[in-house]
């Protein structure tokens, strides 16, 4: 993700240096305000060096033959907090730029923004939000993976934007983004898992080291009822709201069929098993093509989404109840 100087114009590089300098200035102010900040300095130094050293280690990814490394920003935030973590990450990036030819002097501002700012500040929001009711292994894994994936996606988006604004590539924005985001999704996932493994170990061995993760409230997990309410709300939001944003273009399979036959749907025979199945489908589907019958209203899509989610939820709940009953019978 380290950007080279050649990928930036002086204007874009200058703006990113200014933005990162502002974030660094604010972080310094916050770190100095901390009464224990003098004690924190060696920890910041060693954590920066630690992130640097561990980024040189290959972590084997099972089943792929490839390897990944730690997500530095999130690890620093989880141990030092966002402000001290951000300053440590600046140090790491400066040394990498000067001594290891990773990134450039002009690109330092952009690299700090893309890797340290998102990793530490956005990462801290995610970490803090998830650890609100205390830390547990599950929450650490969730925060690490979610934080790594999201912050890496933001970083990749910024890299694309900065490169395009600098005018060094002829690639259209969409194509560049389509190349950058999926690969960083995979990288983020792996980095998140590695970071989670390290943080889970720290949580077990010395939980007091974790930032903003009150371990006394370990048991304060979501209750069954709260989880159920959150799940239902998520179903409704995704099914009812987000479904409106669904693309009107054909999906992958439809697109392939269209390329071969000129239409997104295959012509079926009018007789036999095909027509019987089509007849059953027509009579049972009360929301054909995710809309009300004989209507093009957008509300149809929303209602389809909600109904679909509720049916799926019902089926899953039913299956769960049946399995529970079976287990009870076995134990009895």
């Amino acid at each position: 993700m380290h950007m080279a100087d050649a990928l930036l114009s002086p204007a874009v590089g200058g703006v990113m240096i200014a933005a990162s300098a502002a974030a660094a200035g604010y972080s310094i102010k916050k770190v100095v305000e901390d009464p224990d900040f003098k004690k924190k300095i060696p920890a910041m130094g060693v954590m920066g060096a630690f992130v640097f050293a561990t980024q040189m280690i290959n972590f084997t990814i099972p089943g792929t033959g490839s390897s990944g490394h730690l997500c530095g920003g999130l690890l620093l935030t989880a141990i030092l907090g966002p402000y001290a973590g951000f300053l440590s990450m600046i140090g790491v990036l400066l040394i990498q730029c000067l001594f290891f030819a990773d990134g450039g002097l002009l690109a330092l501002g952009a690299n700090v923004w893309n890797m340290a700012f998102y990793g530490c500040f956005i990462g801290s929001v995610i970490w803090k939000g998830i650890m609100k009711t205390g830390a547990s292994k599950g929450k650490i894994v969730l925060a690490s993976v979610l934080g790594s994936v999201l912050t890496l996606q933001m970083g990749a988006f910024s890299v694309t934007l900065e490169t395009l604004l600098s005018g060094v590539t002829e690639l259209p924005f969409g194509t560049f983004l389509a190349a950058m985001l999926p690969i960083h999704l995979a990288i983020g996932l792996v980095e998140g898992l590695i970071t989670a493994a390290v943080l889970c170990f720290v949580h077990e061995a010395r939980p007091s080291l974790l930032w903003n993760a009150d371990t006394a409230a370990k048991e304060g997990r979501f209750s069954y009822r709260t989880t159920l309410v959150i799940l239902i709300c998520a179903f409704l939001v995704i099914g009812g709201g987000v479904s409106l944003l669904a693309s009107s273009y054909p999906d992958g399979l439809e697109w392939s069929i269209e390329r071969l036959t000129g239409d997104t749907e295959l012509e079926s025979e009018e007789t036999g098993v095909y027509s019987t199945a089509a007849g059953i489908q027509e009579s049972t589907s009360f929301l054909p093509d995710y809309a009300f019958k004989n209507s093009d209203s957008a509300a149809g899509t929303t209602v389809s989404g909600v109904v679909g989610c509720l049916i799926t939820f019902g089926v899953l709940a039913g299956a769960g109840t049946l399995m529970k009953m079976k287990d009870r019978k076995k134990t009895a």
Binding site: D5, A6, A43, M44, G45, M56, T60, S67, F99, E170
Partner: protein
């Protein structure tokens, strides 16, 4: 874990390179400003002006020869940079097909030129940053940053990261050599020990950092005096800066090489 050994070697090499450079008499701030201005001038070259990129290359080559600087380790790192630039620039020849001139039987398009200039710019800025590191060393770069009033807290953190770096790289190298000996033929760190091995190294490092810092304080370490100017600003520094800036600007803004070329062609 060759990367770790490489990193240890690089840090040591750069630490020792400081005294060997004839640029030692020049104030680090002058060198930092030169490197920054060079990066700005190179990246501001329009993407089709390959001649200006070459001109800046000639300047950097002259600089390296004059001050007896060697690209050394940097040459090896060039491949990694080219891989990144290749990913970004490969579409330029495909999408930008305007023919600029014909060389033999090959149509040279504007996309090819812009891709070449991207590679050249990348290599030049990489070398200039490397020359800065080789001729200054970390402590001098920090004193240059101090001269432009970069906050002391940030400088302390960078200084400590740098100081702990060798310590941790060596420790990591030892740990992973031991691991590799127990797990022969394995390409990296197996996922079953991701947490325990790296986590325990983290905890040990935290404890060690505290001890090392206390020892430093007991021996009179005070961050504000850790990187004071070893080379005061002098006439040599002013002359160096003025000459560097003027020569760079001349080569960047006056197309001397195009002019020379046109003389030969005519």
């Amino acid at each position: 874990m060759d990367k770790l050994d490489d990193a240890i070697r690089t840090v040591r090499e750069l630490d020792e390179a400081d005294d060997q450079s004839p640029l030692a008499k020049v104030h680090p701030l002058a060198k930092l400003v030169t490197a920054l201005v060079f990066a700005v001038l190179v990246t501001s070259v329009p993407k089709y002006r390959l001649d200006l990129c070459f001109a800046m290359g000639v300047w950097l080559y002259g600089y390296a020869v004059f001050f007896r600087l060697s690209p050394g380790e940097c040459l090896r790192r060039l491949w990694g940079l080219f891989l990144l630039l290749f990913f970004v620039g490969i579409t330029n020849p495909i999408l930008d097909r305007k023919v600029l001139f014909v060389m033999g039987r090959v149509n040279v398009t504007s996309g090819m030129i812009s891709m070449l200039s991207l590679f050249l710019k990348g290599a030049l800025t990489l070398f200039s940053a490397w020359f800065l590191a080789v001729s200054c060393g970390m402590l001098n770069i920090l004193s240059a940053l101090k001269a432009v009033h970069v906050p002391q807290v940030l400088l302390n953190v960078i200084y400590l990261i740098y100081r702990y770096l060798t310590l941790l790289l060596e420790e990591a190298s030892r740990v992973f050599t031991a691991y590799r000996l127990r797990a022969p033929g394995q390409r990296g760190l197996h996922f079953s020990v991701w947490g325990s091995l790296v986590g325990s190294m983290l905890l040990r490092s935290m404890d060690r950092a505290e001890t090392v810092y206390q020892s430093m304080e007991l021996r009179g370490y005070q961050p504000e005096y850790a990187f004071t100017d070893s080379t005061p600003w002098n006439g040599t520094s002013s002359l160096y800066l003025i000459l560097c800036l003027i020569s760079m600007a001349l080569l960047r803004f006056i197309p001397i090489f195009s002019f020379l070329g046109s003389l030969v062609m005519n």
